[in-house]
């Protein structure tokens, strides 16, 4: 647990909770034009909030409930569009208890996410027995969600079955995208799947066959540890599945990606990638999504060093929803980018997306 955490006591649960708000409502508009437009009702509000809870008392349901209550208290009356869950509890019974706790506060149909190797916000990082929530609310943003189950690639290996993996994940990508409600204000797709790197590249290619190669997509592969691989759709856990969320509204996104496999490079690339995504945002930044590789974290001499570098690049006040994954979706490292293709699925990357307007 990091020093910046503070403690909340809830029904015997000792949990470390951090809450961060990204707000584009009321007095926190990006600029004068936005403020004026909002006052006139031409653009809606966008409210985002992150919470990180570390359960130290083996009570996943209480941890989920505590996180959800903290989130909803921050969101207030803004209409909740979706909640993204990054959780690192062990085994399905605990994961289900966690979802039950979250679902006791938040409508289940708004709950999406995946199992991860841990989470980070700008206030701290956490591994086992932790949950991070990103709440997306307001009438200036909408979220459409889709689920595809029974992908049947989890136990296929590249050396034996690459053509079959490619065929199935291309089909899943297309199915997912076809299920989404599309609008002319679609801005960002978040993709969460049981498709460990390097399989995730074929899932992304399948999505791109529908949305095109230059559409912004980010996301991560679910925790691949045996028995831990789940995505969450409308409050339920699904194995062998993929979830897509389409974020739509009057906002912008800027993306960057970096790859590294050794301590010093992991730290340096995280800082560079975060700084690049932030610099590319022409509007007022609202917050940052960071899908990071669990393997990168494993190569750090001190696991907190990468997080510190990210925070140095983004500043201490800009909200951050990050998680450690088994494969990442976003812009590939500059050394691996394909001309005309904005994003790909890969491993050993940290993928940043800044939302703003």
């Amino acid at each position: 647990m990091t020093q910046s955490f503070y403690h909340t006591f809830l029904a015997g649960l000792v949990a470390a909770i951090v809450g961060v708000t990204w707000c584009l409502a009321g007095t926190m508009h990006a600029n004068d034009a936005d403020r004026e437009a909002a006052n006139e009702g031409r653009i809606g509000s966008i409210l985002m909030h992150t919470v990180l809870v570390e359960d130290q008392d083996d009570q996943p349901m209480a941890a989920g409930e505590a996180a959800a209550r903290e989130l909803m208290a921050a969101i207030g009356d803004a209409p909740l569009q979706a909640v993204l869950v990054s959780e690192c509890f062990e085994d399905l019974p605990w994961k289900q208890q966690l979802l039950q706790g979250i679902g006791s506060v938040i409508p289940k149909e708004r709950i999406f996410g995946s199992s991860t190797y841990g989470s980070f916000t700008q206030r701290g990082t956490a591994g086992f027995d932790s949950v991070s929530l990103l709440g997306i609310a307001g009438d200036g943003i909408s979220v459409s969600a889709a689920l595809v189950t029974e992908m049947e690639v989890a136990r296929l290996t590249f050396e034996d079955s690459e053509p079959l993996i490619k065929e199935r994940l291309h089909a899943v990508g297309k199915q997912l995208t076809d299920k989404l409600q599309r609008t002319d204000q679609d801005r960002l797709m978040i993709l969460l799947a049981d498709a460990h790197s390097p399989k995730n590249k074929y899932l992304v290619e399948g999505v791109q066959q529908v949305v095109g190669p230059d559409f912004p997509i980010t996301g991560g592969s679910a925790n691949k540890n045996a028995g831990q691989t789940y995505v969450y759709f409308q409050g339920k856990a699904y194995a062998d599945s993929a979830v897509a969320l389409m974020l739509s509204g009057d906002f912008q996104v800027s993306l960057s990606g970096r790859k590294a496999m050794e301590n010093d490079q992991v730290i340096a690339t995280a800082k560079d990638g975060a700084a690049e995504a932030l610099a590319k945002m022409t509007g007022q930044p609202l917050g940052v999504l960071a899908f990071n590789c669990a393997g990168r974290r494993g190569r750090l001499h001190r696991p907190e060093d990468e997080w510190t570098a990210i925070r140095q690049a983004l500043g201490e006040d800009l909200a951050l929803f990050g998680c450690y994954c088994a494969g990442e979706v976003g812009p590939l490292d500059p050394s691996e980018q394909v001309p005309g293709v904005l994003v790909g699925g890969s491993g050993w990357h940290v993928m940043f997306t800044v939302l703003g307007r």
Partner: protein, 325 residues
């Protein structure tokens, strides 16, 4: 020149690490070219390097495209091209990595189907080593093809000239940061010994802990004072193969090994087969270089196969990965 073990499956695109050492009396400058297994791509495959006399460097080559192989044998070719000509070294390496899996220590080898086994032969007898990790345990299965299982001789357990018996000995150590000078005053590793007992059971002994002096760590001590019941262990025999299975709690290892995917550590295994092949050393299969510290690299417990072959060091680079799929 030597290719290190791969600490995650190559299909995930990790680094291949090459150790180069200048054994000459003058400095050397040139190129190191790494040729990977067929159909792989490295990016780049050439590194320019300058080595002073006696200097060792560890060079990273990015595997842009790799393939996992069921055999877990990966042929590499390293060529050094310098002003005086070129030299080539061919070597097979292997994936030394523990996937995540919570195993029960109950004598069921089928639970190990999702591991990444490493097999090597000693005098026509095969040894297969598999590892797993979970949140709370590091687990090991060693399958030893041998004529007979000789259990620990309880009657000689306190003697320093004990009768020899079959056993598996393994070492675990943290990988220190590259800028941290080695602590030559401490062993810096854990060592454990697994044996079958005459009543059909099994025991684990903790031979070495990191704070021990290197010479003290290498010296034999009476085994019965070293029993470690926190390590779950089972030994059984089936169809000519002796299986040693154990799970070591991470909390027993202090911070030498943290249960985090992608984490690297040092690991090696010795198999003692006194009535058959003698000592079987995983480090020989990993092509570790001999080192002047090797005499202190392993605890020379009484009853082990130390008479014919000296083992190499105990520092094979190993990793914790997520899955072999």
């Amino acid at each position: 020149m030597r290719v290190e073990t791969l600490t995650v499956p190559p299909a995930t695109g990790p680094l291949a690490m090459v150790m180069v050492q200048n054994a000459g009396s003058a400095s050397w400058e040139g190129q190191i070219v790494l040729r990977p297994p067929p159909s792989w791509q490295l990016s780049p495959d050439t590194r320019t390097v300058r080595l002073d006399s006696g200097e060792t460097q560890r060079l990273a080559f990015n595997i842009a495209r790799g393939r996992n192989l069921e055999t877990n044998r990966y042929p590499f070719e390293i060529t050094a091209i310098g002003p005086d000509g070129q030299a080539t070294h061919r070597q097979q390496t292997f994936v030394a990595s523990a996937p995540y899996f919570r195993v029960q220590v109950d004598g069921r080898p089928d639970e190990w189907d999702d591991a990444i086994p490493i097999s090597f032969r000693t005098d026509q007898r095969e040894t297969t080593i598999s590892t797993y990790w979970s949140r709370r345990h590091f687990s090991l299965l060693v399958a030893v093809d041998e004529q007979e299982l000789v259990p620990w001789d309880a009657s000689g357990r306190s003697s320093f000239d004990a009768i020899q018996f079959d056993a598996v000995q393994f070492a675990l150590a943290a990988v220190p940061p590259p800028d941290q000078p080695p602590d030559l005053a401490a062993a810096g590793r854990f060592e454990f010994l697994l044996v079958a007992t005459e009543d059909g059971g099994a025991k684990c002994f903790r031979l070495v802990t990191p704070e021990m002096r290197p010479d003290e760590a290498a010296r034999p001590r009476p085994l019965d004072s070293l029993e470690c019941d926190q390590v779950e262990v089972a030994v059984w025999r089936n169809d000519g193969i002796t299986y040693y299975e154990c799970s070591v709690p991470f909390r027993l290892l202090d911070n030498a090994l943290l249960p985090i995917a992608g984490r690297e550590f040092f690991f090696s295994v010795l198999v003692h087969d006194p009535d058959g092949t003698g000592l079987r050393d995983l480090a020989h299969h990993a092509k570790l270089w001999p080192d002047r510290g090797d005499p202190h690299a392993w605890n020379r417990w009484a009853g082990g196969c130390w008479q014919d072959v000296s083992p190499l060091g105990n520092k094979i680079r190993w990793g914790l990965c997520t899955s072999k799929y």
